[in-house]
């Protein structure tokens, strides 16, 4: 309808919007470099002026593993899954800590990301999804460093390298998407209700206890309703998948499909909720 004099200039329409917004992945793609730069900023800033620098990304999960092994493995005497020798408890717990910490970090960072970047939100336009996405990206970078430790442990405990290890890739992706899905909900809610950020430390701690990190999934009754309730936690499927791929533990099987379904529902609803709330961020934050 409008005659465009110079067709290379795109036209932007400004109008009040209401209801559900399309995802607009094209705009996200246009700004992909910004995701990279914001992720890079988070990483740079976190390890600036720290003597050990990125070494902390390796040390933190190692400390956790040592703590878990001493407290849960030795003192509390928790056993790995049936069929896994007890002396493998360190790698048994690490196989769970690795995706769990990725999930926790990504969830925590993305949930507070919008409020943390309030100065950007109120001054400059860019697709708002970039902010929680790059927060998740920063957690993923830490995860890759922690993976090096896993490699070391596999050598130390002579864990065989099998094609099954390739399953770690989709499992990791599932953990990331789960964190992103919840992060989208919480970050948008946090813009309006700061109560969210007070709740997050508790949430991520509770989530760890609700996942088979310190203990074996065998403690959950094999059949019946509780098994399925437990499966609603997507991290239960991810962790069991990790242990299966690495240590030949009980396969997650049908369990995992519940996780995938839960994540899909949370992610799609989270994306649309985020997009719907997005237009008020600059005014509310």
């Amino acid at each position: 309808m409008t005659t465009v004099k110079n067709p290379s200039y795109p036209i932007t329409y400004l109008r009040p919007a209401s209801g559900w917004m399309p995802l607009d992945l094209a705009a996200l793609w246009e700004y992909r470099e910004l995701i990279y730069f914001l992720t890079w900023r988070d990483i740079r800033v976190r390890y600036k002026q720290a003597l050990l620098g990125v070494g902390w990304a390796i040390l933190q999960p190692v400390f956790h593993m040592v703590l878990f092994t001493v407290i849960f493995g030795r003192l509390a005497g928790l056993k790995p899954d049936a069929g896994i020798p007890e002396q493998l408890y360190p790698i048994f717990s690490f196989a769970a800590l690795l995706p769990m910490q990725l999930f926790q970090q990504a969830l925590q960072r993305s949930s507070i990301s919008l409020v943390q970047n309030a100065n950007l939100l109120t001054k400059i336009y860019f697709p708002r999804l970039i902010i929680p996405l790059s927060a998740v990206g920063a957690a993923l970078v830490d995860f890759f460093f922690a993976m090096l430790v896993l490699g070391g442990l596999m050598v130390a405990y002579q864990v065989p390298v099998t094609p099954r290890l390739l399953w770690l890739i989709p499992l990791t992706l599932l953990a990331v998407l789960a964190a992103l899905a919840i992060g989208l909900w919480l970050s948008a809610l946090n813009v309006q209700y700061r109560d969210v950020q007070h709740m997050i430390p508790f949430l991520i701690q509770a989530w760890m206890y609700a996942s088979p990190v310190a203990y074996s999934i065998d403690v959950i009754p094999q059949s019946g309703i509780w098994r399925w309730v437990y499966a609603l936690n997507p991290m239960a499927g991810v962790i069991q998948g990790y242990r299966w791929a690495l240590l030949d533990a009980t396969p997650p099987a049908g369990f995992l499909w519940v996780s995938v379904a839960v994540v899909a529902v949370l992610l799609i609803s989270g994306l649309y909720y985020f997009r719907a709330m997005e237009r008020t961020f600059a005014d509310m934050v």
Binding site: T2, T3, V4, K5, N6, Y9, P10, I11, T12, Y13, L14, R15, P16, A17, Y31, E33, L34, Y36, F37, L38, W40, R41, R44, V45, K48, Q49, N119, L120, L121, T122, K123, I124, Y125, F126, V191, Q192, Y193, R194, D195, R279, A282, D283, M284, V285
Partner: protein, 418 residues
Amino acid sequence: MSDWAIRVERLGKQYRIGTLNSQRYQTLRDAITGVFDRSARSAVSGRIWALKDVSFEVRQGQVLGIIGRNGAGKSTLLKILSRVTQPTEGFGEIRGRVGSLLEVGTGFHPELTGRENIYLNGAILGMKRREIERKFDEIVEFAEVGAFIDTPVKRYSSGMYLRLAFAVAAHLEPEILVVDEVLAVGDAEFQRKCLGKMSDVAQEGRTVLFVSHNMSAILRLTQEALVIEKGRLKLRAPTAEAVDYYLSQGYSQEGQRTWDADEIPPEAAPFRPRAVRVLSAEGRVTDTVRSTEPFHIEVEYALDAPITGLRVGIYLMSMRGEYIFTSFDTDDPQRFERYPVRQPGVYVSRCTVPADWLNEGRYAVGINASSFRVRRYFQDDQALSFMVDATGAPGTQWTEARLGPLRPRLDWKIEVKA
């Protein structure tokens, strides 16, 4: 005509009062109790229009000034145009990429080095990495931070920080550039550089929206300006006319300006301004003085506690904000020594401006009360304005307007050499 770059129609933006004042966010509890408590609900639903019924068009390549007082809605308008926030009503179209300089240095991180911040800030402003790489040297040169480029910006002086921030933003190449008050900060040299860059941008044929409180910058850079008042578009006119209109608003025009208790910022204590007045030669408060007669400007103030080294003075400015002079009551060294400490009480500091000195026109008086290098108690750059009538002044036999703020009666001699 279809050569517009920006076109907006009946744009309006409503804010809930609750989101504007100090109670910036609600808690979940408020929201929950609000559902049951009607009074809490109505308190939250107070709304104001920050912008209402604003319609205008900007041609491609035009540099348009936007002026208005703080809180008039300028920033809201720019935020809508740069898509940071959405209008509540109305409609707008923008042709081309919008680059906004709503605040220089947005997204700068103090822990990162100058180099890292250039990349980060460039990306935030919408530049591609290749574009930043191409302009990197130019940016560093413009910012004059050469040797410190790999130092974290938290160690920069505020001047360096600003120069770098502006340099990145100034090298954006959007079709439409939105600039808000970048010149409010920085030293004179830096401001000149920024203005130079801005006029370069304009000459390249890009569309610029320029918001500033600096009227001489607005006059220099723009031919046309919008005046926004209380969220509404009051006037669109050639810049000189718009500036005159803007400046004549809000000034007291009775030759006197007084301050109520609630207009005095708490930081001013123990200094309390009471009034500033323009007095004719006979001592009458007046809005218009004659240029051929001396007149007085006086500041009346109260001190609630003794102040050491106090000086109370005035600025005289043209209505465009250019300074003509600054003068303090203790400029005379002997008088300064006579008042080392001013005791509590009510004072009047009065000066006399000589006859045959100012040109005709309207002038602004600002006041300042400070102790040198110790503290500035109070300052108001727009305290009052007054008219100078040039009847009988030198040269009035010719009806032309004389250039310049002064109209002195100089002692001319004409000698016949041959």
